[in-house]
């Protein structure tokens, strides 16, 4: 009843490390960095090179904070292509002490409102539940 179509194999290259190098270098040190427009002070996370608000592309990197609160989370049981090799992982959203909201993997037993500390495995932001 069905026949096989011709596969479409998509392989991608990204300007990952070069484009946001300080972010990746920060992750390797266990720090999470965003950008702030030197001209108008707008904070960007995910980091941006360009500030669309004031049209200026003059950014400084800043540390988004080390501590935060877990706002919400989900435990991924059915994994997508590229993540099949992982055990179940928990994706969370954390609000840092500096008011930056970001996505991370949650280590420990998650709870909405739990205090967390941001860390990294070098490839992504992690947060450890402190209580």
């Amino acid at each position: 009843m069905v026949m096989e179509g011709i596969p479409l194999i998509l392989k991608y290259t990204l300007p990952a490390e070069e484009l946001y190098k300080p972010f990746w270098e920060g992750l390797k040190r266990g720090e999470v960095l965003g950008t702030k427009c030197k001209h108008c002070g707008t904070v960007y996370f995910p980091p941006q090179r360009d500030c669309p608000k004031c049209m200026v592309s003059d950014m400084e990197w800043f540390n988004v904070g080390k501590e935060g609160v877990l706002m919400t989370y989900s435990i991924v049981k059915q994994k997508p292509q590229g993540f099949e090799q992982y055990e179940d992982y928990t994706i969370g959203i954390v609000r840092t002490e500096k008011g930056v909201d970001l996505m991370c993997w949650v280590i420990g037993k998650p709870r909405v409102g739990a205090k967390v500390s941001l860390t990294s495995d070098g490839n992504r932001v992690l947060c450890g539940v402190r209580e």
Partner: protein
Amino acid sequence: MNRRVGIIGVGMSKFGKRQDVTVRELAWEAVKEAFEDAGLTQKDIQLTVIGSTAYRGTEIYPAPPVSEYCGLVGKSPIRVEAACATGSSAIFTAVNAVASGMVDIALVIGVDKMTEVDTATSLAIGGRGGNYYWEFHMYGTTFPTYYALYATRHMALYGTTEEDMALAAVKAHKYASYNEKAHFRNKITVEDVLKSRVVSWPIKLLDSSPISDGAAAAIIASEEKIRELKIDTPIWIRGMGYGSDTSYIAARGEWVGLKAARDAAYMAYKMSGYTPQDIEYATVHDCFTIAEIMAYEDLGFVEKGKGPSLLREGQTEKDGKVAVNLFGGLKAKGHPLGATGVAMAYEIVKQLREEAGPVQHSFKKYVALSHNVGGTGHYAYVFIYNR
């Protein structure tokens, strides 16, 4: 809008895993029905707008083969995409073309053939339905994960339970059992939902809409054209609104409702002059059960956090205060992304014309609304209709 616009013909294919057809025959099922419904043919159409996300099908540029198959070559210069709200973005585009006076009559086709790839591939495509670089690449998000982030916080803040969410699925399956075009026609229980496999906690398999193939079509015309054609029961589009939000879900600052949907609803209510209390029937975007609960709140049917009460009290059942998704919703009718928004219009037209058979809702004012969300609140469209 510069001039009044109405819907004069609708069609919908059978939804489901349609391995018996390619995207072209699938689209034709809906287009043929819409032509027959309106009593028109291709020569009457000035513009065709095709909504299709297409990425899961072999025809990744489906508009030309679809328009050729349907005899519409020369009348289909545009394909639009807005993720899961693609169908509504196509209607929005066509309505604007008619309202502006650019054309008098336009055909909208929403179609997607999503089951040509396997589930893992489909999940990986859906997982990119936010921000590839800062979400999927680093964290392995799936599409259910994004809505699960909303569900978890809704549960924590308002005491919403997994049982509450299951009620939305039970309702969807109950009504889909009457719809011969629905993907699923089996009834389910709360316990079935709770026992189903966890996909991305707290979302389980039976909280989720299926991966479906399907098509829907609608013919849109100006008031002058409708009078000229002597259409008996046009369904008027009285209000239209759109909204959008950040791609990166963490940047939204709130995970219990969709700002895009609230903005779209506000705009549509304002244009129409109707309020949430006037709406007697709604199709809402229940891609996951939590999405139906948030829709009740975002549309103003109930205050934030109280969505589950409408389900518990049965107020969104047939002949309830505001009937919702009596054709089975995305959850059970199926969710072929490009078709969904157009299938919502199909359902509204059938209901307002009182052609909905066993699931016919009883109207007093004949006012209805459709709510279609793209991505996880990245886009939203709300339309308000009357008869």
